[in-house]
């Protein structure tokens, strides 16, 4: 099973072009930082409340990206969720590179003429095995299209997919319209995810307005 960092890197890859989707770079970095911090929360290394993110266990996870993030957060001391994301976002470009190299080493991506291509072209969901891919896709669809209570990892996945505007991987355009409220509800359930969603929305707002004529 892949972690959230590798997962979100894979999801942002447009296999047809062999390039990563064009999110504003800073937004892509915030999402990657969010993925790492939320993964550390799932692995009980950090905890959070409305005001702060706290490192509760410095034991390395064995994942070099997560362990680097853990060390940075531990050194930074108590931070607000937004500041914790900022602290990690500053290094997200390097983490992205590392995650891509790791996916190549695992045989999930291959590099060809400077482009990255999926080895398994249909793989768009969180696990490598084909049957699990279908299961995860079905589970996310079921979760978004019903009132089913999510499990915590699914909450994080919805947060990440929504922040990257990738709901289209799981839902039709009509379903995306139908489920806006549900997605917003699920995205709120993780406190770090909330901070990430806010940060990405602020970046998008800034980029949109910077691109608009001033008159």
């Amino acid at each position: 099973m892949l972690g959230f960092v590798e997962e979100i890197v894979l999801l942002q890859l447009d296999d047809a072009k062999g390039r990563f989707l064009e999110l504003p770079l800073s937004a892509a970095h915030v999402v990657l930082a969010g993925a790492a911090v939320m993964e550390l929360a799932m692995q009980n290394r950090i905890d959070a409340d409305l005001d702060r993110v706290i490192v509760v266990d410095r034991t390395p996870t064995g994942d070099d990206i997560l362990d680097d993030v853990l060390q940075r957060l531990a050194e930074a001391g108590e931070l607000s969720p937004a500041s914790a994301l900022e602290c990690v976002t500053a290094h997200a470009g390097a983490y992205h590179e590392r995650a891509v190299r790791r996916l190549v080493a695992k045989g999930i991506l291959r590099e060809q003429d400077g482009r990255f291509l999926w080895v398994f072209r249909t793989r768009r969901y969180p696990v490598v095995n084909d049957s699990e891919q279908r299961e995860v896709k079905a589970r996310l669809r079921g979760l978004l299209l019903t009132d089913e209570i999510p499990d915590p990892r699914d909450v994080v996945l919805v947060c990440l997919i929504d922040a990257c505007n990738l709901l289209g991987l799981v839902l039709s355009p009509h379903e995306i319209e139908q489920t806006r409220g549900r997605v917003a509800q699920l995205s709120r359930l993780d406190l770090i995810g909330q901070a990430m969603t806010r940060a990405v929305a602020e970046i998008r707002f800034t980029v949109r307005h910077a691109a608009s004529p001033a008159y």
């Binding site: 009980n44 905890d47 209570i149 359930l189």
Partner: protein
């Protein structure tokens, strides 16, 4: 965190007290798992003595809610102190759980 339970007819009243955070999450999850156990669980959770809940604590409750839903049971929370209620409100957990003011209302809400 302290965890206690008592039976009120078909409803199991669970009383949690103290802090539900990462240090208490695993034991809380195990204790709740025993309550959810078999059958169709009907659980009222007394949170009047719960002073603090973190993200890890919220995840424990989310897992409980999911298991209870899968077992076609019901879980109702009651007696939330203001700061815990604020966390529920901001995180949207108040839309996941039915919340009542006291035990009698929580038990009544099971019917």
């Amino acid at each position: 965190m302290d965890f206690a339970q008592e039976q009120a007819g078909e409803v199991t009243i669970v009383r949690i007290a103290g802090r539900l955070d990462s240090s208490a999450a695993q034991s809380a999850e195990e204790s709740f798992a025993r309550v959810v156990g078999a059958g169709t669980p009907q659980i009222a959770v007394d949170m009047s003595k719960l002073d603090y809940i973190s993200s890890a604590g919220l995840r424990v409750l989310l897992v409980v809610a999911k298991k209870v839903q899968q077992a076609k049971g019901k879980v109702v929370l009651f007696g939330l102190v203001p700061n815990v209620r604020e966390v529920f409100s901001i995180s949207g957990f108040d839309k996941i759980f039915q919340i009542q003011s006291d035990a009698a209302s929580a038990v009544a809400a099971m019917r």
